[in-house]
C-alpha cells in the first residue's frame, strides 16, 4: 500500500476505528450497489454518489450527540446511512418504491427522517443553507442546546443565500456548523475556475465566523475538528465553518462522463488517499484487527447492502392513490 501523508495522531480506540471502518464501508458498498442498480435501470433520474467522501460524514457523526440535526444537498445517501437511517428504506426510495423513506415520492435527492433528525436531501444548490440555519434558530428559540450540521459543497459556496445566512447566523448566534464539503469540482467546474479565492473556510471572516480547513480523507481529523466546532456552537458562541477537503471518485451524477479531470488524478487519490484504506491500515498496523477479521466485516456489510437491494427491488411501487396524498397536511 502506498505511503500516506497524514497529520492525525491516532488518538482513538480499537472500537472507534472498527466502527469508522464499518460505517465508511457501508456507505462505499451501498453506493456501489446503487450505481449498479442505476445501470440496470432500477434507479432513475439523477443519482449522485458519495464514493470517496465517506470520512466527512462518518467523522462528523462521531462528534454529534442525540438530538443534533443535520441537513444537506442532493448528494445525501452517505449522510443518511451515517446518521443511522435504515439502508433498506434509503435504497427503496432510490428505486421509487413504497418502502422508501418518502414512499417513493422523493427519490435520491429528497429524503427525510424526523426520527433521526435528518432534514433532507435538498435538490436546489445552496437552498439547504438557510434552512439549516432555520433548524438551528428553532433550537435556540426553544432553548435547547442542540446544534445543526448544515452541509454544502464548494459549488454552493458561491450562492448568495449562503452569505445572507452567514450574516444572520452570526448576528443571532445560531448554533449551526456550516460544513463545506470541498470535493473540488462543482459538477464539471474546478474550484479554481469558479472561485476567486482559494480558501472557503475564510469565507466567514467578514461576518466574524471562525473557520478551519480539515483533511476530509482522514476520519480522525474530521472527528477532532467536528468536536471543536460542536463545543463552540453548543456553548452559545454562534456558528462555525469547517471546510472539509475531500474528493469524489465518481462523476457528479451517474450521467457525468467526467472529462474535466484526468483519470490519473482520480486514480492517484484512490491509491494514496483513500479514507477507508487509511483506517484499514491503522487497524492492521495497530494490531487491532487481523485481515480475516476485516474480511468478516466486509462480508457482513455486503450482506446488509444485498439485503437492502433485495428489499428495494421487491418493495412494490406506491399505490396510485399516493399520487394525491401528502400535498396538504
Amino acid at each position: 500500500m502506498a505511503a500516506r501523508k497524514s497529520t492525525s495522531k491516532p488518538n482513538t480506540s480499537k472500537e472507534e476505528l472498527l466502527s469508522f471502518y464499518r460505517d465508511m464501508l457501508l456507505i462505499r458498498r451501498f453506493e456501489e450497489k446503487a450505481g449498479q442498480l442505476y445501470g440496470m435501470g432500477l434507479i432513475g433520474g439523477f443519482c449522485h454518489l458519495y464514493i470517496g467522501q465517506e470520512a466527512v460524514v462518518v467523522g462528523l457523526e462521531a462528534a454529534a450527540e442525540e438530538g443534533d440535526k443535520r441537513i444537506t444537498s442532493y448528494r445525501d445517501h452517505g449522510h443518511m446511512l451515517a446518521c443511522g437511517m435504515d439502508p433498506k428504506g434509503v435504497m427503496a426510495e432510490l428505486t421509487g418504491r413504497i418502502g422508501g423513506y418518502s414512499k417513493g415520492k422523493g427519490g435520491s435527492m429528497h429524503m427525510f427522517s424526523k426520527e433521526r433528525h435528518f432534514y433532507g436531501g435538498h435538490g436546489i444548490v445552496g437552498a439547504q443553507v438557510p434552512l439549516g440555519a432555520g433548524l438551528a434558530f428553532a433550537d435556540k428559540y426553544m432553548g435547547t442546546d442542540r446544534v445543526t450540521f448544515t452541509y454544502f459543497g464548494d459549488g454552493a459556496a458561491n450562492q448568495g443565500q449562503v452569505y445572507e445566512t452567514f450574516n444572520m447566523a452570526a448576528l443571532w448566534k445560531l448554533p449551526c456548523i456550516f460544513v463545506i464539503e470541498n470535493n473540488q469540482y462543482a459538477m464539471g467546474t474546478a474550484q479554481r475556475r469558479s472561485t476567486s479565492t482559494p480558501h472557503l473556510y475564510t469565507r466567514g471572516e467578514a461576518f466574524g465566523i471562525p473557520g478551519e480547513m480539515v483533511d476530509g480523507m482522514d476520519v480522525l481529523a474530521v472527528k477532532a475538528a467536528g468536536e471543536k466546532a460542536v463545543a463552540h456552537c453548543r456553548s452559545g458562541k454562534g456558528p462555525y465553518i469547517l471546510e472539509v477537503m475531500t474528493y469524489r471518485y465518481r462523476g457528479h451524477s451517474m450521467s457525468d462522463p467526467a472529462k474535466y479531470r484526468p483519470r490519473e488524478e482520480v486514480q492517484k487519490i484512490r491509491e494514496e488517499r483513500d479514507p477507508i484504506e487509511h483506517v484499514r491500515e491503522l487497524l492492521l498496523q495497530g494490531k487491532h484487527a487481523t485481515e480475516d477479521e476485516l474480511k468478516a466485516i466486509d462480508k457482513e456489510i455486503k450482506a446488509i447492502v444485498n439485503e437492502a437491494a433485495e428489499f428495494a427491488k421487491e418493495s412494490p411501487e406506491p399505490p396510485v392513490e399516493e399520487l394525491w396524498t401528502d400535498v396538504y397536511a
Binding site: Y101, S102, G106, K114, P130, G134, F137, S255, P257, D326
Partner: protein, 458 residues
C-alpha cells in the same frame, strides 16, 4: 461465482447505446473500479467501470456494436480458476432485459355531465346573528389576529424587515414588540432569500413563523424557498415533514410606485400545489382568515393591500373568531349577473353593483376570500341562477384567476351560461408611473359596468 456484466444505463434517458471500445480482453483480471469499456450514449462517451473483481470470462458483445439495449448481458466475469465453459448455460439463461410493460390505457376522459345538479355550498353565516360588532381598520384587524395567535401559541413568531423597533413599515405590527419582546418579533436584515429560508427551516423543526414581506414584490427574491422548500417538502417527504408558515404582506398596486412595486401575485401563487392562498378584502375576513392561516399546518400565502389597510369595516366583537378557508362570501345577492372578485377587486365589484342597481341590473357579488382552495361551488350555484358571469381582479390578464374561473364554468356549468364569461383585469403592461397612465393600467369600476352590460346584452 460467475456474474454477468449488463449493458448499463448511463443517463436518465438512455435506452440503448454503442459499445465503442473494450479496454479488457478475455482472460484479463479486473479490479473493482477499473475501466473496462467505453460506451457511447445519446449524450456522451462514458467510461464503464467494473463493480466486482474477477477475470473476464467471455465478451458477449464485440466492440463497435450499436443499439445495445440497456440490461443486455455484454460480458461474463468469472472467479480466478473458473472456466467460462461452465457458464454457457448461465449465459443463455440470462434474464432478458425486462420489456417495458404496455402503459395502462388511460381512463377515458369523463365528459362533464351536461346538466349537473347544483353543487352544495357552505352558505352558513360567518358569525351568529346578533353578535356585537365593532368598527376596525384592516390594519388593526391583522394586528389583532397576530397578537391573539401569539398569545395562544408560543411557537408563533413574527419575522421580517422593520417589524419590531420601527413598528412595521405599514404599522401592521405596531405594539407587538412591546408585548412579545425581541425573541418573538424579529427584525431581519434586508435579505429576503436568506430569512425566508431560515423561517422555513424553523417551521420544519416545529415552529410556526409569520414572515412579513415589506411588499410581495420583494418575495420574488425568496420565491425558490417559498415554492421549492415550503410548498413541496411535505409531498417529497411522503408526509413526514410539514411546513406550518404564513407569508404575508401588501400585494398589488399601491399608488404611483411604478412597475417594480405594483404587481398582484394572486395567480402566481395559486398555481402551486402545496400552498394555500388567501386574499381578503374586509377587516373581518382579514382577521378571521389570518387566524386560520396561522393555525393551518401548511404554508399559506396571505396577500394584503396597502390601500385597504386604512379602510374600516364592521368586525364581530368575539374573543376568538375565525373564518374557514375555501368558503366564499356573498356580499350582495342578485339575479341578473354574478360578479366574482377578491381583495381590492371587491371595491370595484361593489361599486359597480351599486351603480348597476340604479340602472335596474341586479348583480350578485361574490368575494372568493381564499383562492386556493377556491370555493367554485358557490360561483357555480350563483351562475346557475344568473346565467352570466364577470370576474374582477387587479392582476394581469394572461393565465389569471379569472381565466381559471372561466374554465371551471365552461366545464361545469356550460349549459347555464347565456353569454361568454368576461375577465376584467389589470392591463397587460408593467405598471407605469405617470398618474394618467397608472389609472388606465388598473381595472376600473367603469370597465366592470361595461362588462356586465355586455354579458347581459344591455
Amino acid at each position: 461465482m460467475a456474474t454477468e456484466i449488463l449493458m448499463p444505463a448511463l443517463s436518465p434517458t438512455m435506452e440503448e447505446g454503442k459499445i465503442a471500445k473494450w479496454l479488457v480482453k478475455e482472460g484479463d483480471t479486473v479490479t473493482s473500479g477499473q475501466i473496462i469499456a467505453e460506451i457511447e450514449t445519446d449524450k456522451a462517451t462514458m467510461e464503464f467501470e467494473a463493480v466486482d473483481e474477477g477475470v473476464v470470462g467471455k465478451i458477449l458483445i464485440p466492440e463497435g456494436t450499436e443499439g445495445v439495449k440497456v440490461n443486455t448481458p455484454i460480458a461474463i466475469l468469472v472467479e480466478e480458476g473458473e472456466s467460462v465453459d461452465d457458464l454457457a448455460s448461465a449465459a443463455t439463461a440470462a434474464p432478458k432485459a425486462e420489456s417495458q410493460p404496455a402503459p395502462a390505457p388511460a381512463a377515458p376522459a369523463q365528459a362533464a355531465p351536461s346538466a349537473p345538479a347544483a353543487p352544495q355550498a357552505d352558505l352558513s353565516p360567518d358569525w351568529p346573528e346578533g353578535t356585537p360588532m365593532k368598527t376596525m381598520t384592516v390594519r388593526e384587524a391583522l394586528r389583532e389576529a397576530m397578537a391573539e395567535e401569539m398569545r395562544r401559541d408560543e411557537t408563533v413568531y413574527l419575522m421580517g424587515e422593520e417589524v419590531g423597533e420601527y413598528q412595521g413599515a405599514y404599522k401592521v405590527s405596531q405594539g407587538l414588540l412591546d408585548e412579545f419582546t425581541e425573541r418573538r418579533v424579529i427584525d431581519t436584515p434586508i435579505t429576503e432569500h436568506g430569512f425566508t429560508g431560515i423561517a422555513v427551516g424553523s417551521a420544519f423543526a416545529g415552529l410556526r413563523p409569520i414572515v412579513e414581506f415589506m411588499t410581495f414584490n420583494f418575495a420574488m427574491q425568496a420565491i425558490d424557498q417559498i415554492i421549492n422548500s415550503a410548498a413541496k417538502t411535505l409531498y417529497m417527504s411522503g408526509g413526514q415533514m410539514g411546513c406550518p408558515i404564513v407569508f404575508r404582506g401588501p400585494n398589488g398596486a399601491a399608488a404611483r410606485v411604478a412597475a417594480q412595486h405594483s404587481q398582484d401575485y394572486a395567480a402566481w401563487y395559486s398555481h402551486v400545489p402545496g400552498l394555500k392562498v388567501v386574499q381578503p378584502w374586509s377587516a373581518a375576513d382579514a382577521k378571521g382568515l389570518l387566524k386560520t392561516a396561522i393555525r393551518d399546518p401548511n404554508p399559506v400565502i396571505f396577500l394584503e393591500n396597502e390601500i385597504l389597510y386604512g379602510r374600516s369595516f364592521e368586525v364581530p366583537d368575539l374573543p376568538d373568531f375565525t373564518i374557514p378557508f375555501g368558503k366564499a362570501k356573498i356580499w350582495r345577492e342578485g339575479s341578473d349577473v354574478t360578479i366574482v372578485s377578491f381583495g381590492i377587486g371587491m371595491t370595484y365589484a361593489m361599486e359597480a353593483a351599486e351603480r348597476l342597481a340604479e340602472e335596474g341590473i341586479s348583480a350578485e357579488v361574490i368575494d372568493l376570500r381564499t383562492l386556493r382552495p377556491m370555493d367554485t361551488d358557490t360561483i357555480i350555484r350563483s351562475v346557475m341562477k344568473t346565467n352570466r358571469c364577470v370576474t374582477v381582479e387587479e392582476g394581469w390578464p394572461v393565465c389569471s384567476i379569472g381565466n381559471y374561473i372561466s374554465s371551471v364554468l365552461m366545464q361545469q356549468a356550460f349549459d347555464y351560461l347565456d353569454a361568454p364569461v368576461i375577465n376584467c383585469t389589470g392591463k397587460d403592461v408593467p405598471m407605469p408611473y405617470a398618474a394618467n397612465l397608472e389609472k388606465l393600467a388598473l381595472v376600473t369600476t367603469d370597465e366592470v359596468i361595461a362588462a356586465v352590460k355586455q354579458v347581459t346584452y344591455r
